[in-house]
Each structure stands twice: as structure tokens, then as C-alpha cells.
């Protein structure tokens, strides 16, 4: 069982567009209260699986699996790699319930808790990444790239989860015919691995296909990638 004991507040404040010194101070009591309640219902879990990869026609093929990654962004993300880790992480459905309850009880707490939960799920991914790096490979890794970013088609989400057996392993599903993850506070991502050092990749807004509609950019910030 993995445990998260503290949540990255800076990250949460950034989601709330509240990362100024004043906001940090003014909101501290509210955040303390929300963090405590959130931690008490958190049931963080992750799972991952390694696949050898090959390339053809600007597509990435996973060995022994019926899934192909299409799109320029994921292709260039992985193009120097021999394999990739598929990672899925979730905070569990208790967090969804808490946020639902708070929306009735105290919307301000709901908003803050929602942001804290987004930060927390990011930390669960980081834990997965650390475990992979420490346990398995002396290799060189890319950062984590998520379906739905750039032109990495979010419609692979269902097959992605099924390759990881994520329903059974961590209770993670896609919702109906959509590719939205449920429980809501969940993330999937792909991390490439190579035996040789990877060329530095441009990472930032310029290469992102979302740059024209990004909520972070609209307010002069960025998502962190």
C-alpha cells in the first residue's frame, strides 16, 4: 500500500491560480483543513507495465499487445527509446465522494480539495516513476506523457487501461463511451526508456497542441510540463 502524507501545495495553488504570496497566506487555514480531510479518504494506487516498442509509419507499436500509439507528439516523445512504461494512477473513489459532499456542504472547500487532489494524483504518478527508476532500470527515461496531451489521442484510454488490467489492479475505468477516467482523480501516462542518454526534448508550451486553448496560458501561467 502506498501512502501520501503531504500534498504539494504550490501545485494546488497553481491550479487555483492562487500562487501569489498573499494567496498562500490567506488561504493557508482553509488549505490545512481541506488537506486533512482529503488525506483521510485518500486511497492512492498505481500500476504500470513495460513494453518493448518499435516504430513504423510514424506510429509506435507495443510488442505483444493490441495497441498502437498514433500522433506526432507521442512518436517524438518515444522515438529514441527501446521501450515504454505505461503507467496509471488513481486516488480512488473516496475522493470523488468527498468532493461531491463538499460541493453541497461548502463549495470553497470543494474547490480547494479538488485542486489538492489534482496535485496528489500527480504525486502518485511520481511515486510510480520513482519505483520504476529505482527497481528496474539503469536506463535513461523520458518524462511522463499523457493521452489527451498534444495530439496523443485520448481515445486509446480504454485499451490503455485494459493492457494494464487497471480495473482489476487499481479500480480504474473509463466512463461509458467517453474516454474520461473514473474515479475522476486519476491519470495515465507513458514514460519511455532507453539504454543510451536521450537527446534533450523541448518541453513546454510551444510543442503543445493545446497551447491555443490552455487555461493556464489564458492566465499567463503554464501546466508545468
Amino acid at each position: 500500500m502506498i501512502k501520501i502524507e503531504k500534498i504539494n501545495r504550490e501545485e494546488a495553488l497553481r491550479y487555483l491560480a492562487c500562487n501569489s504570496e498573499k494567496a498562500r497566506e490567506d488561504l493557508a487555514p482553509l488549505i490545512d483543513e481541506c488537506e486533512k480531510e482529503l488525506l483521510s479518504v485518500l486511497s492512492p494506487k498505481f500500476t504500470y507495465r513495460y513494453f518493448d516498442i518499435s516504430f513504423s509509419d510514424k506510429k509506435v507499436y507495443l510488442k505483444d499487445a493490441n495497441l498502437v500509439f498514433e500522433g506526432n507528439d507521442i512518436f517524438s516523445h518515444l522515438d529514441s527509446c527501446k521501450g515504454a512504461y505505461l503507467i496509471a494512477a488513481t486516488l480512488g473513489s473516496g475522493v470523488d465522494r468527498l468532493i461531491r459532499k463538499l460541493q453541497i456542504e461548502n463549495m470553497a472547500k470543494a474547490v480547494v480539495t479538488d485542486a489538492l487532489a489534482s496535485a496528489a494524483v500527480e504525486e502518485v504518478c511520481a511515486l510510480a516513476e520513482n519505483e520504476i527508476k529505482s527497481r528496474f532500470e539503469k536506463g535513461f527515461f523520458t518524462w511522463r506523457y499523457a493521452p489527451g496531451y498534444g495530439d496523443f489521442d485520448i481515445n486509446i484510454q480504454k485499451d490503455f487501461l485494459s493492457l494494464l488490467d487497471a480495473q482489476k489492479k487499481i479500480g480504474l475505468y473509463t466512463s461509458g463511451d467517453t474516454m474520461l477516467l473514473t474515479p475522476i482523480k486519476s491519470v495515465t501516462s507513458v514514460m519511455g526508456v532507453s539504454d543510451t542518454p536521450l537527446p534533450p526534448k523541448k518541453r513546454g508550451c510551444i510543442t503543445c497542441n493545446m497551447k491555443d486553448s490552455c487555461a493556464f496560458r489564458k492566465r499567463g501561467s503554464h501546466c508545468g510540463y
Binding site: 500500500m1 487555483l16 491560480a17 492562487c18 501569489s20 490567506d26 488561504l27 487555514p29 482553509l30 483543513e33 486511497s43 513495460y50 505483444d64 499487445a65 493490441n66 495497441l67 480512488g92 473513489s93 473516496g94 470523488d96 465522494r97 468532493i99 461531491r100 453541497i104 456542504e105 461548502n106 463549495m107 470553497a108 472547500k109 474547490v111 480547494v112 479538488d114 527497481r135 528496474f136 489527451g148 485520448i154 485499451d159 485494459s162 493492457l163 488490467d165 480495473q167 482489476k168 487499481i170 479500480g171 475505468y173 473509463t174 466512463s175 461509458g176 463511451d177 467517453t178 474516454m179 474520461l180 473514473t182 474515479p183 475522476i184 493545446m210 491555443d212 486553448s213 487555461a215 489564458k218
Partner: protein, 801 residues
């Protein structure tokens, strides 16, 4: 050995009376992977393409000693097979057939189970699949598997889903049912379901065995299995994994003999049905069979507590438990109005308030002459269980309403109520039995409420007998000896207490009582209520139905539990009254500033309670609309301006909105008494089809309501047509749509097109993380709102207020 046979209904109880242990098979998936199944392939398709592989696996298990083999039908449901090109009927039919052939060709007697696993989608409220849809999916599987000898529901993690499956199985077949769910190391399923809650709920629904499969190895499962054994009279089934899988190789870490050794420990706690799950093979089942053949079953000491539960909370009635009475429209104008307008959030706020105040169980009554009580009850039960885990007591006089509510309730509920009338006994008790609920029995009959305690006792006895005849255990019968008002029947007060005491001591039943009626028509009702409550508690009342929000009432129960030495070391009492609230709160000056300035201060500082109090006081001297227009809205405007200039931040803006909301609540309840309304106009809000992220939309809703708009909230994942239907309502001039994902922008566009078609003059405002003003224009929206505050500004413009 079995000869040619038709469908053969297995009687699990009978088998277990003849045999020491019932052996289940081991893993199917593990065996299929060994024979080359690729990840991502649909394993059930092999029923059509390679039946011989499946038959071999079954035969391997039968020959290793399995008495029951699970047909290869685990994932053969409509949803998972949708891309396969084959029907559920065909694949399940083939699967069952293969298993039957395997039995025929084997040397032993064995039974074939229709194996039903999870659908592969999350049910409401976390997911979007409805309970009713889940039922249909399972029903199709049950019917397709009609040739099997029994039905197994396994690897479930959501009690709600397995409940849908049990109902589908019971209502569409007469086969026995074995249910096993999958638990995590923390002792719960992914959805938070407790082993005890599973056992209570599923036994109530009339399954034949309950237990655990998958997830963990035998050692890790032991505490979970023990808990199940404590909460069910049914045979318990266990199918553990072969230990835990290695994260890289996916191989399991326990050998057949180790597996058999530790699995046999389950036999020592009374488990009689055993098999293997992931990682196990015929070798494991053989080892298990060998070791069990040297063992004798352990007799379980069965002493099930009286308890009700939701999926994640069990309330054991071994001490007084508070039933909150507030979800009930009787005598409450504001509540009635909420029911009529479908304002479910108001009802939910009542649920949460009582939960926070210390209720253990919530009574739910939505009976009102002019509404569709059944539909409202279903909607309310689903909504309440999505925000609180307190067990529910379903309260209605109409059997159809009770049944509909019990059906969609995720857990074991209480039915309120049956009484001694023949008609009531005949209609209510079968429903209680079918859904495995507990029941409140009112001591009245055709002749009304008897004056004397002894006569009420007799009715209690009759209700008990009839319930027991129906198969409802004593522990699930709670008797209400009925409170009469002291002002009208002073001499009757102690008759109630006396009857209650006799029921408790002589019949050994738990007692329940609505307390608040006692003081009707008297001054200082609270004093009478809490004193009467104390008297009843000390005479054996287990389930007081009270308003938990009144501190003296909840306090009376807590104090009683302390004094009666139930609350050990006064832990609960100290928890409740020592540092009740550690959260820092902005301080207020001692006296309340009943003025526009005071209200502004409260709004700016997030002082909800003060805001409501000031509004209450203001209403004594000031007109409602005057308060709204000249005090509340200017205060909100001020905080809105502070937000826009960066002086305050989103959470603070919403906190202020929360204060305004509380103030509005006060004004609304005054106006509903006067029969007038504050509405500035009706706005429809929806999170578009396919999108389930609705927090943004909900923030907009709160702000709009605080500016006096009536919001028709259609929720999330809303059909295009539902939005159009709401838009055409008179007085609706503005529709707000929210979408969070790029993938759902398309539905936003479709929704806009439909609304514009049915009501071209209706304005549409859109918002959400992925939208831009340009894109909003492109998809035909009239306005783009960058945040909730902007939406309010747009609404004020559209309605010219």
C-alpha cells in the same frame, strides 16, 4: 458419476450437509495465458474458436478434485463483447456447454457455474452506468446461462453492482447463487465496501453463499474472511490468489503446497467452500483437495449482530443509535418547496448537516400529495448515498415507493414501517424479506393505537410472529411503541415507555421511537423532548428518531451512553465535546451588527452563521427584496470586484458566496411561507453529454443563485434533448453549458445546435477549461465566460437585472 442430465439445480446447503467441503476450481485466465492468450484479447471468444482448450482446462480442474467449475463466461457481457461481433447469448451458451461436456467426459461428479464478473464500467455515482442499466446487462447474462447448474458472481468490487447482479439472477432464474467480492489489503474493496456490509446486504438478498476471491493471497485474506464469518449465517466461500504477483513477471509467489497449507487455515475458521483464483492451476486445486480431505470442517459459532449498513459503513444496533428525522416534508414549507421544484441539493444539505451533527442512520421521507413520490424517492436515495455513507431508513406509506427505494439502495436499509393491520402485514413484509431489510413495526392496527401498554405489546408480538413466519430474523425487527403527545394524552406517556420496556425485555427485540411528537403543543419543547428521550433510553430505547441538529437531543444520547458505560472511557463523548472545532475561524465582535454593513462584513469574511443570523434579524424590519437588492447583491459585487482585482482569490470568493447562500436560504424560507419568490430569472445549467467533471458548473450555480437567479441544474453528462427541453420552458432566457475536455466540445456544439433549433432566441453561455472566446463563437454560443463571476455578469445582462 453423473449420467446424462438436464439442468440440475444444486442445493448448496444439502451438499454441505453431505460433504465436508465443496471444492471450487482454480484460475481460468492463468491457464489461458499459459496457452498463449494475448493481453487485450477477449478470453470468452475462445469458447467459439478453441473450445477444446477451454474444455481441457475444465477437465484438469475436475480431475484435480473441483466439485464446481466456472464456465468461461466471466466477461461475456454486452459491454465487453460490443466489439467482438458475437452475442452474449451465443458466447455464454457455448461457454456453459463446453463446461458441461468437460463434466460429462470426466470421471467425477461436478457442477457447472455460470460465471459472471464485473461489467467493466463504474456504476453511478462514481461512474455513469445506472443501476437499472447494470441490472439489464446482468439479466441478459443470466438468461443466456440458463443451462448452468448455479450462478457465481465474482471479483466484484462494488456492492451496488453485485446487488444489481443478484437481483437479475434471482428474478430471472431459480438457481443458487455464490457471491464473492474482491478486497484490498486495507480490508475494503476499491469502492470502499466492507466485508461486513457485503455479508449483511447479500445475505439479506437471499444468496446461497458469500465470500472472497482474487486480490490477495490466502494469508492476507484471513482477517477479511473472519469478518465475513461474523456477519453471515451463510456458508462462506474463499478463492484466493496464489499469493501476490511479481510486478515485472506477473508470476505469483506461492507454491501449490504452500497455497493449500494456508488455504486450509480458512477451514479452521469455518469456511466450507474453497478454490483458487489468479495464479492457481490444477496442481493447486489438487494440493488443496488433498489437504482438505484430511480435515474436518470447523463448526462456526453463528451469532450475527443486529445491524444495518451502507456499502462502506455498518451500524450495529448494540447501543443507542440516532436516526435523523429531518428528511421529511411534514410541517416544513421550505422542504416541500424543494420537493416540488426538484431541488435535490437542499435535501442533500439536510442529510449532510445531520451526519455532521451525529446521526447514525437517516430517515428518508419524501411523501407529498402532488409529486411522484416513487420517482422522487429513487432520485433522493441515489443522491443521498452519493454524499454520505450513513445507512438509510426508507419511510413511506406506499409499498411501491418502499420497494423502489430498497431496490436502488446500496446496502441494508430499514423499512419504516409495517403495522399490525392485516393489509400492512401482507403487503410490507414480503418486500422487507425480498430486499433483506430491517423493519420498523408500529404497534397499531385496524382499531388504531391501543391506549394500554399491554395491548401495544400484543400487537408487537403479532408483528414479530408474522415477520418470523415470513423468514425475517428477529434481529431485523424493530418495534415502535408510538409516542402520543403529552399535552393531549398525558397519562399515555408512561404507557409508551412501559410497552417499549416489555418489548425489549420480553420479546428481545430492538426498539425504535419517534421522540419529538411528545412535546407537540407545549412550550419549551426541547426541554420535554430531551427529558422524554432520557426516560426512554433508560427503559431500553435503541433507535431514537430525533432531530440530531438540536444539541440537547444528540447530547442526551451521548450522555446516556457515557453514564450507562456503553461509551467506553467516554471516548465518544470527549471526541464530541472537547475541541469540537479545531479549524481556525475569523473572529467576530460579540454583538451582531444588524445592518447592510454587518451583512457585508459577514459576506467578506466568510461568516456563514452570522450572515444567516443578520438576515433573520433584518427580515423583522426590512423587506426581502430590499435586503437582496440593496444589501446582499452589493456585498457580492464588492467581493466580486475584489476577486477581479486580485485582492481575494477564488476560494474566498466562493466562501463569500456560501454566506450569501445561507442568507438567501433564510429569505427563501420566509418567502415560501408568504408564498412569494425572489427570482431574478431562470437559468438552465448543464455539464454536456459525455463530461462528468461538473465542479465548474456547480460553482457557477452557487454564484447565480446568490444573485437571485433560479437555476435549473440538469447535472452532468446531460443529453442534448434534456437541455433543449429545459430551454423551452417559459422564462428561460439563458442556458449555460460547461465542458472540461476537448473530447466533449463536440457534444457542446451539438447541444447548442439543438437548443438554437427549438428556441432560437434563447441565449447560450459556455465555459470550461478548454474553451476560448473564438471557439465559443465558432460553435454558436452567444457568450463565453472565463469564470463563474463572468457568467453572473452575463446573466445579469441577459435578464437586465
Amino acid at each position: 458419476m453423473l449420467s446424462e442430465r438436464e439442468v440440475h439445480i444444486v442445493d448448496i446447503k444439502k451438499i454441505l450437509s453431505e460433504k465436508d467441503f465443496l471444492i471450487l476450481d482454480g484460475a481460468m485466465g492463468t491457464m489461458l495465458q499459459k496457452s498463449g492468450l494475448k493481453t487485450g484479447d477477449i478470453p470468452e471468444l475462445l469458447n467459439l474458436t478453441s473450445p477444446e482448450i477451454i474444455e481441457d482446462i475444465h477437465r484438469g480442474y475436475i480431475n484435480s478434485g473441483a466439485d464446481i467449475v466456472y464456465a468461461n463466461t466471466f466477461g461475456a457481457n454486452r459491454y465487453k463483447l460490443s466489439s467482438s461481433g458475437h452475442s452474449v447469448e451465443k458466447i455464454i451458451g457455448a461457454g456453459v456447454n463446453i463446461a458441461k461436456n468437460a463434466v460429462k467426459k470426466s470421471q467425477r461428479e461436478a457442477f457447472v457455474a455460470l460465471d459472471i464478473g464485473p461489467i467493466g464500467q463504474l456504476l453511478e455515482p462514481t461512474g455513469t452506468l445506472t443501476f437499472e442499466e447494470a441490472y439489464d446487462i446482468f439479466k441478459e447474462e443470466v438468461i443466456a446461462g440458463k443451462d448452468a447448474d448455479l450462478i457465481v458472481l465474482e471479483t466484484m468490487t462494488d456492492l451496488y453492482e453485485i446487488k444489481a447482479a443478484v437481483l437479475a439472477a434471482k428474478e430471472n432464474s431459480d438457481k443458487p447463487i455464490i457471491c464473492t467480492m474482491t478486497f484490498e489489503q486495507n480490508g475494503r474493496t476499491f469502492s470502499g465496501c466492507l466485508p461486513s456490509a457485503m455479508a449483511l446486504t447479500l445475505e439479506g438478498l437471499g444468496v446461497d453463499a458469500v465470500g472472497v476471491n482474487c486480490s490477495l493471497g490466502p494469508r492476507e485474506l484471513l482477517p477479511i474472511v473472519k469478518e465475513i464469518c461474523e456477519y453471515t449465517t451463510l456458508p462462506v466461500a474463499v478463492k484466493p490468489n496464489a499469493g501476490l504477483p511479481d510486478p515485472v513477471t506477473n508470476l505469483y509467489n506461492v507454491t501449490p503446497s504452500e497455497f493449500a497449507e494456508s488455504a486450509s487455515e480458512f477451514a479452521d475458521v469455518g469456511v466450507r467452500i474453497l478454490g483458487g483464483c489468479c495464479g492457481t492451476t490444477p496442481d493447486y486445486i489438487k494440493a488443496l483437495n488433498d489437504i482438505l480431505s484430511t480435515k474436518k470442517p470447523t463448526e462456526r459459532e453463528i451469532n450475527i449482530p443486529s445491524a444495518v449498513c451502507s456499502s462502506s459503513k455498518v451500524s450495529v444496533i448494540n447501543q443507542p443509535r440516532i436516526i435523523g428525522e429531518r428528511i421529511n416534508p411534514t410541517g416544513k414549507k421550505r422542504f416541500k418547496e424543494a420537493l416540488k421544484s426538484g431541488d435535490i441539493d437542499y435535501i442533500l444539505s439536510q442529510a449532510i448537516e445531520q451526519a455532521n451533527a451525529g446521526a447514525d442512520i437517516l430517515d428518508v421521507n419524501v411523501g407529498l400529495p402532488d409529486i411522484d413520490e416513487k420517482a422522487m424517492m429513487v432520485k433522493t436515495v441515489k443522491a443521498i448515498q452519493s454524499v454520505t455513507d450513513l445507512p438509510l431508513q426508507i419511510d413511506s406509506t406506499i409499498p411501491e415507493v418502499l420497494e423502489a427505494a430498497l431496490r436502488v439502495y446500496n446496502g441494508k436499509a430499514i423499512v419504516n414501517s409495517v403495522n399490525g393491520e392485516e393489509k400492512s402485514l401482507q403487503t410490507i413484509l414480503p418486500i422487507v424479506k425480498k430486499y433483506g431489510a430491517s423493519v420498523v413495526g408500529l404497534t397499531l392496527d385496524e382499531n388504531g393505537i391501543p391506549k394500554k401498554a399491554d395491548d401495544r405489546f400484543k400487537i408487537a408480538e403479532k408483528i414479530m410472529q408474522r415477520a418470523i413466519d415470513m423468514g425475517i430474523p428477529k434481529r431485523d425487527i424493530f418495534i415502535d411503541c408510538l409516542t402520543l403527545t403529552a399535552s393531549a394524552e398525558q397519562a399515555g406517556v408512561m404507557e409508551t415507555v412501559k410497552a417499549l420496556n416489555r418489548v425489549k425485555n420480553e420479546l428481545g427485540l430492538h426498539t425504535v421511537l419517534g421522540v419529538s411528537n411528545i412535546s407537540f403543543g407545549l412550550p419549551n419543547r426541547e426541554l420535554i423532548n430531551s427529558n422524554f428521550l432520557q426516560i426512554c433510553l433508560s427503559h431500553g430505547l435503541d433507535l431514537p428518531i430525533i432531530n440530531p441538529n438540536v444539541p440537547s437531543m444528540t447530547g442526551a444520547v451521548r450522555a446516556y451512553k457515557l453514564l450507562a458505560n456503553i461509551d467506553e472511557n467516554a471516548r465518544e463523548f470527549i471526541d464530541a465535546y472537547n475541541n469540537t472545532d479545531t479549524a481556525p475561524k475569523p473572529t467576530t465582535s460579540g454583538t451582531l451588527d444588524v445592518s447592510a454593513k454587518g451583512l457585508l462584513f459577514a459576506v467578506q469574511n466568510g461568516l456563514k452563521h452570522e450572515g444567516a443570523l443578520i438576515t433573520e434579524k433584518l427580515l423583522l424590519t426590512t423587506d426581502s427584496m430590499e435586503i437582496v437588492d440593496n444589501m446582499l447583491i452589493p456585498a457580492l459585487d464588492k467581493t466580486g470586484a475584489d476577486f477581479e482585482s486580485g485582492k481575494i482569490f477564488l476560494p474566498q470568493l466562493i466562501l463569500s458566496a456560501g454566506v450569501a447562500q445561507a442568507a438567501f436560504e433564510v429569505i427563501k424560507s420566509k418567502m415560501s411561507k408568504e408564498g412569494s419568490s425572489v427570482s431574478k430569472g431562470k437559468v438552465v445549467l448543464a455539464t454536456v453529454k459525455g463530461d462528468i467533471h461538473d465542479i465548474g458548473k456547480n460553482i457557477v450555480k452557487v454564484l447565480l443563485e446568490n444573485y437571485g437567479f433560479d437555476v435549473i441544474d440538469l447535472g452532468k453528462d446531460v443529453d442534448y434533448q434534456a437541455v433543449a427541453d429545459a430551454a423551452v420552458l417559459p422564462d428561460v432566457k439563458l442556458v449555460g453549458l460547461s465542458a472540461l475536455m476537448t473530447t466533449t466540445l463536440k457534444s457542446m456544439e451539438e447541444t447548442i445546435a439543438l437548443v438554437k433549433k427549438v428556441k432560437p432566441e434563447c441565449k447560450i453561455v459556455v465555459g470550461g477549461a478548454v474553451l476560448t472566446p473564438e471557439y465559443a463563437e465558432k460553435i454558436g454560443a452567444d457568450y463565453y465566460a472565463k469564470d463563474a463571476k463572468a457568467t453572473v455578469d452575463i446573466a445579469r445582462k441577459v435578464y437586465s437585472v
